[in-house]
């Protein structure tokens, strides 16, 4: 999809990105209803990354960043607190930057590898964030669990996103 050059494209891009933000928020809300998978904070499927990856591939990097930011702010207002917003921002944008870089290195192919790197760096970013918020280096003893979980869940969301991208979704009504 080209950049918003004229008014019609602008309206469409606002609508579509708004829809994507709503989808991402819905997935995030659903995920927060699931019981914790594991006793370590931060291990969760990260399903809204499917939408982030999809937006990055289909609409562009800037657009993916906007959808991510909207999702984090609104989910923070609805279900979270200022601290959870800091964790989400650090994790989300570390993951997106990693995914942009990995996608360039992989020439836009192998989205599951991109997703795995995104998941890995999402958790690594949140771990460093936790170090500053908790004020204790003891959080780093969670590193192997979080890194492994990030790779597995990231690969899953990457695969899910590549299946979504193969699905024909009409651009025009």
């Amino acid at each position: 999809m080209p950049g918003p050059t004229d008014n019609k494209n602008r309206i469409r891009s606002i609508t579509v990105l708004g829809l994507m933000s709503a989808l991402s928020l819905g997935i995030y809300a659903f995920e927060s209803l699931l019981p914790p998978l594991f006793f370590i904070p931060g291990i969760k499927p990260g399903l809204s990354n499917i939408i982030t990856l999809y937006c990055m591939k289909r609409f562009g990097r800037r657009e993916a960043g906007m959808v991510l930011l909207v999702r984090i702010i609104i989910s923070g207002i609805l279900f979270g607190n200022p601290v959870s917003v800091i964790y989400s921002l650090t994790g989300g944008f570390t993951a997106l930057l990693t995914e942009i870089l990995a996608d360039a290195l992989l020439h836009g192919k192998y989205l599951h590898i991109t997703g795995a790197f995104g998941g890995l760096f999402h958790n690594a970013g949140q771990l460093i964030c936790a170090f500053f918020i908790m004020g204790s280096a003891a959080v780093f003893s969670y590193t192997p669990y979080l890194v492994l979980a990030g790779i597995i869940t990231g690969m899953f969301t990457g695969l899910a996103s590549s299946f979504l991208l193969k699905t024909k979704i009409p651009d025009k009504p």
């Binding site: 936790a130 280096a137 890194v147």
Partner: protein, 147 residues
């Protein structure tokens, strides 16, 4: 960037290899985690070491309630099981190990974590900024883990 990276014919093989090496390394670290019994329990709130317990001298269950630092003051410990109006975590220290029995945090991951008795992964409660660690070292005034 893609022109420069074009020199690598198969970047996905290299990147998969990196991921597999990291994953195997993590798995080894997880499986090698200590099974021995630790000696010193540290109760850390917001980076401040509030109290330490020597596991070898504990004979009965001890209950404490940790209140994290808030706008009204620093973190502190209440003896016994308390339910203050502010945030709190109730911790039980017994000869078998340490666990969080009650907390006001939303997800309750610190309670689900169960009891710990060996050095390794600590109990963490992110909302209340609480960490409980066990290590092998003797109780000492200098602590390399806290800041």
């Amino acid at each position: 960037m893609s022109d420069y990276m074009g020199k690598f014919k198969k970047p996905h093989i290299l990147m998969s290899a990196i991921l597999i090496i990291i994953a195997v390394f993590c798995l080894v670290l997880i499986l090698r985690e200590g099974r021995s019994r630790g000696r010193t329990v540290r109760i850390i709130s917001g980076g401040t070491l509030l109290r330490t317990y020597d596991m070898s001298v504990i004979t009965d269950d001890i209950y404490i309630t940790v209140v994290p630092a808030s706008g009204s003051g620093d973190a502190y410990i209440l003896e016994g099981i308390q339910h203050p109006d502010s945030s709190y975590n109730v911790i039980r220290i017994s000869p078998e190990g340490v666990c969080v029995t009650d907390s006001d945090c939303p997800a309750g991951l610190c309670i689900h974590r169960g009891s710990i008795s060996s050095p390794g992964i600590p109990i963490a409660c992110l909302p209340n900024r609480l960490m409980i660690t066990i290590d092998d070292t003797e109780e000492s005034s200098t602590d390399a883990w806290t800041y």
